[in-house]
Amino acid sequence: MKTVVLKRVTIIAEALLEERLVRDVKRLGARGHTVTEVRGEGSRGVRASEWEGHNVKLESIVSPDVADRVLEHLAATYFPHFAVIAYVEDVSVVRGEKYV
């Protein structure tokens, strides 16, 4: 099967940020995304608004360029004051043109 290697960016953040993260990721060039509800613990134990649910995990398959831009943006905008982590992996996708 012919596959193309792209990047999967994963962002784990307080659920409160979901709407904005999706907006940002789209603006920076992602053509799709998938959100999972998760819970977790990290260095900042506290999560705001209990009603919001705990955390969300946002995954998006993008080109290396877009991946880089997303990480830059997160680092500048959310890392200082929000409970957010992000990481990147290589994935082999079918129909690579769908994602770029």
């Binding site: 705001a48 608004s49 209990e50 009603w51 500048a76 959310y78 004051h81």
Partner: protein
């Protein structure tokens, strides 16, 4: 007469503390302390929140539909005054006495200015258990107290902070929108409108779902709140004695002013108790979300520790009977 009142207040305290609702809150705390693996599904908790807010709104709206406008004017005015004054005073105290930064002080001000829906509900429940009449339009006042308080507090912070934190919602318009469309207030206001348009006949259609089982649903909700509150107790250690003292004093002062203004505005003994409790309570649904978005640099351990860890249990146990006693005293005087 004072000793009699005291006995009375103790009776109330007992009544309040042995209701299934409050006991469920305690059970939730116990669950955390003994490390039970009990956990309410998040979907249940969210569903209950929506249910409770919608129910409060529907009942308030149906009542509102039969309330003459003139009856509303003075209590609404009293509520607005509270909504503007409390955050200003709390902010000043946090800054001057507590020596906190701008963001932290404003965050606490937003919380204590607005209303805790559960405390409100517990107060309503107590009044009805005592057969004390309460004006039906009180839920409308909740919305009236919630919104301005948060806006005032955030405006103070905005005008005093040179640059907003990275990631913070920018522009007052966005904060307003986030606030009014935030799910808690949206559902409460939506319920009010539906209730007002449908009237008592509309409410009657859905009473077996939204009215009769209300207190039972509150039991499940408070079970979860107990677990949440217990989880916050370790936060208290981080924030120190000033915040604990503040969390105990603020409801007494704010609540007393609330009862006084309410009494002056012509509300009944029951209604004045409720408005006092509303002033005494600190939000932990709408305010945290708004603050988190607009003032991300404020420390959640501080504002949640105070509002959820100290003031919330204090109000449930001591605050409500205290406001009732005060309301009776003031109505006796007048």
């Amino acid at each position: 007469m004072l000793p009699y009142r005291l006995v009375d207040a103790l009776d109330l305290l007992r009544l309040n503390l042995l209701s299934p609702m409050v006991l469920a809150f305690v059970l939730g705390m116990v669950a955390v302390f003994v490390r039970s693996d009990l956990r309410l599904p998040e979907a249940l908790y969210t569903s209950l929140s929506i249910y409770l807010l919608l129910s409060i709104g529907l009942k308030g709206g149906a009542e509102l539909s039969e309330t003459p406008f003139a009856t509303l004017v003075l209590p609404a005015l009293a509520t607005l005054v509270l909504g503007v004054t409390i955050p200003v005073v709390v902010y000043a105290v946090m800054r001057r006495v507590g020596r906190f930064g701008v963001a932290d002080a404003a965050a606490v001000a937003a919380h204590y200015g607005s209303v805790s829906a559960v405390t409100f509900t517990a107060a309503i429940t107590t009044m009805s258990a005592l057969d004390v009449r309460v004006e039906g339009f009180m839920p409308a006042l909740v919305a009236l107290l919630e919104v301005p308080a948060i806006v005032v507090a955030l405006s103070i912070a905005r005008s005093r902070l040179e640059v907003s934190a990275p990631g913070a919602a920018s522009g007052r318009a966005e904060v307003w929108r986030e606030l009014l469309t935030g799910r808690s207030l949206f559902v409460l206001l939506g319920g009010l409108v539906i209730g007002a348009l449908g009237g008592k006949a509309g409410l009657a259609q859905v009473a077996p779902f939204f009215v009769d089982p209300f207190k039972g649903a509150l039991v499940l909700f408070l079970l979860e709140m107990g677990m949440v509150a217990a989880g916050r107790i370790r936060d208290l250690k981080k924030v120190g004695p000033f915040v604990i003292g503040f969390g105990l004093l603020a409801p007494i002062v704010n609540g007393s002013v609330g009862v006084l203004l309410a009494t002056l505005s012509g509300l009944s003994i029951g209604g004045s108790t409720i408005l006092g409790v509303m002033a005494a309570s600190a939000s932990y649904i709408a305010a945290p979300a708004a603050v988190r978005i607009a003032l991300p640099q404020a420390n959640p351990a501080l504002y949640l520790g105070a509002s959820l860890g100290v003031t919330f249990p204090f109000n449930l146990s001591v605050g409500i009977p205290l406001m009732y006693a005060l309301s009776r005293a003031l109505h006796g005087l007048m």
